[in-house]
Amino acid sequence: MELTYWWILPLAALALVIAARLLIRRRPQTGRPVAHGERLTDLPEYQNVLRRYKATLVLAVALGALFLAATATAAARPAQRTTEQPEIRNRDIILCLDVSGSMTSTDAAIAKVFQELARQFDGERIGMVIFDSSSVQLFPLTDDYDYAAEQLTAAQKALDSGAGSFFDGTWNGGGSSLIGDGLASCVQGFPDVDAEAGNAKRSRSVVLATDNFLSGDPIFTLQQAGELARSKNVKVYALNPGDFDYGDQADQPGGQLKAVAEGTGGTYFALDSPDAVPGIVQKVQETEASSYLAAPQVVVSDSPALPLGIALLAGAGMVILAWRLNP
């Protein structure tokens, strides 16, 4: 708590002293002169009433002083100075889901989690791409959360049942699970860094769910797609439900995925069951949140409530006393 115009307080005190001195100096003996005042003042009834009257006056003076002090304090603008570190919520997230047969349950879990999250989003944008041998953009980056939630619900249902027109367009390429192509098309879903200077500060992440079992001949290898992601400042968070690596060699599918993910600044998670998805997404959210805190800001906010409240009470008390003193 500090005072913005602290110099008002000494000014107010000075004004009060001057006013009091003028008042005392300019007050002659008023009223009618009366002799033998002891006719009245010696009465015990008079002394009782006078004592009460004096107590009321003292109370009124105290309330007046309190009122003046409170209003002077309020005039000096008491302010609360706080240091805030606002969380910048301007992430862009693209869900990049491999919809090959082995992945559907994990995809459903991811869709379900993001469907929940989309309801709480504020400022974030979310998009979704599914791929198998070719990729399909279900919906581009959007902050229309109702629409996103609707799409995610539909996706979750389709992924759960594993059939329907939902997967149309994902088998147009040769082979299946062309992960490099899928990731590349997800990364392309973000607008260009240079084209939109304003978007440069938005964090970009891809939640990539795949088992990295490649069959076919992709246009982009996984490493090339990772390069592309890094050049566009996109972090890749890889979720692998089927990490069946033998040993720690880097050429194993899981190892490759891990290398790519970590190469973009993201993380690699090996999933044991779809139930672990919410926890992992939570973790991703948290790392994102902590890495996107803005610079500390000093916020000065006026807080006149306390002195003004006291002034209000004191003023009300003075009005009541004035009413009592002037029946």
């Binding site: 009223g31 005042g37 006719r39 015990p44 009834e45």
Partner: protein, 297 residues
């Protein structure tokens, strides 16, 4: 109308009252032989020439009473009276009426006035001019920033320094007489004839019962104490004050009756004439009955 003297005058200079010396005033009385010390201008030259030795004319001197106005001139008298006028105005009015009556009757009028600090005595003299001077003296002597009142100081002065029988008319306010005052008054009453005119002080609180209009604040001229209107207007205080005032008035009348001094109170300049006449009447009848009872006893 005149101030009645119950006791016969003992000196030649006592005034137009019953006197042991017979004869009319301003009358030639006798011739007698000159005694050293007589005024030379009193010598009757023709008679001296006839007689052979110096003879002086003797007149019966104008017989006069002396009326002394004893006025409280402290700052209490500058305060308000019951009517809201200044008590000083009432005092000057009453002194004027009493002095005028005495003048018309051929009496001398003197003044003794003062405060707790000083007492000032102006010896009795005849004439309305002198009376006028006395009244001016009273008027000028009383002010709000003057010294405090103490009527006992003037009573004491009269007892100590004033010789001869006087008709003393006291003009004072509603002070509360104590034992000392009573003693002084008893002695004064034995030596002189005393009349007492009480000038009623301002009411401090209104009568209970009538819805009080906004009452003005007042201050005690004695000690400067302020009396807030709100406190004086309190119904409990007003009731207590009314009771206390009735008791005080009762005490005062009992006090003066016990001393055998005629006392009358006046609260407004308009009532001064009737109050003075009532006082004179009371003095004449009241003191006579006291004398009768003495004679009977």
């Amino acid at each position: 109308m005149f101030i009645f003297a119950h006791r016969r005058t003992l000196t030649l200079l006592d005034g137009e009252y019953g006197s042991v010396f017979k004869g009319r005033s301003l009358d030639f009385d006798e011739l007698r032989s000159y005694v050293p010390g007589d005024e030379v201008r009193d010598i009757d030259w023709k008679a001296t020439a006839r007689h052979g030795s110096p003879l002086v004319k003797r007149y019966v001197a104008v017989r006069r009473h002396s009326v002394l106005l004893l006025v409280d001139a402290g700052r209490n008298m500058a305060a308000h009276a019951a009517s809201g006028e200044s008590k000083k105005d009432i005092a000057v009015d009453a002194a004027g009426v009493l002095g005028y009556l005495a003048c018309r009757h051929g009496d001398d009028v003197g003044l003794l006035h003062g405060s707790a600090l000083t007492s000032r005595y102006l010896p009795p003299q005849s004439g309305e001019q002198h009376l006028e001077r006395l009244l001016r003296e009273v008027e000028a002597g009383i002010s709000l920033d003057g010294p405090a009142s103490a009527i006992t100081a003037q009573l004491d002065y009269a007892l100590r320094y004033l010789k001869g029988r006087l008709l003393i008319a006291v003009l004072a306010d509603e002070f509360r007489p104590d034992a000392h005052t009573e003693m002084l008054l008893r002695r004064l009453r034995a030596r002189h004839e005393v009349l007492w005119l009480t000038i009623l002080d301002a009411r401090m609180a209104r009568e209970p019962g009538n819805p009080a209009p906004t009452q003005e604040a007042s201050f005690d001229v004695g000690n400067g104490q302020r009396i807030p209107a709100l406190v004086a207007g309190n119904s409990v205080v007003r009731a207590a004050y009314a009771t206390a005032m009735r008791k005080r008035e009762e005490e005062r009348s009992v006090f003066f009756r016990r001393l055998g001094i005629a006392e009358q109170s006046v609260g407004a300049t308009g009532d001064v004439l009737t109050a003075v006449f009532a006082l004179l009447e009371k003095h004449r009848s009241g003191a006579k009955s006291a004398k009768d009872s003495n004679r009977a006893g």
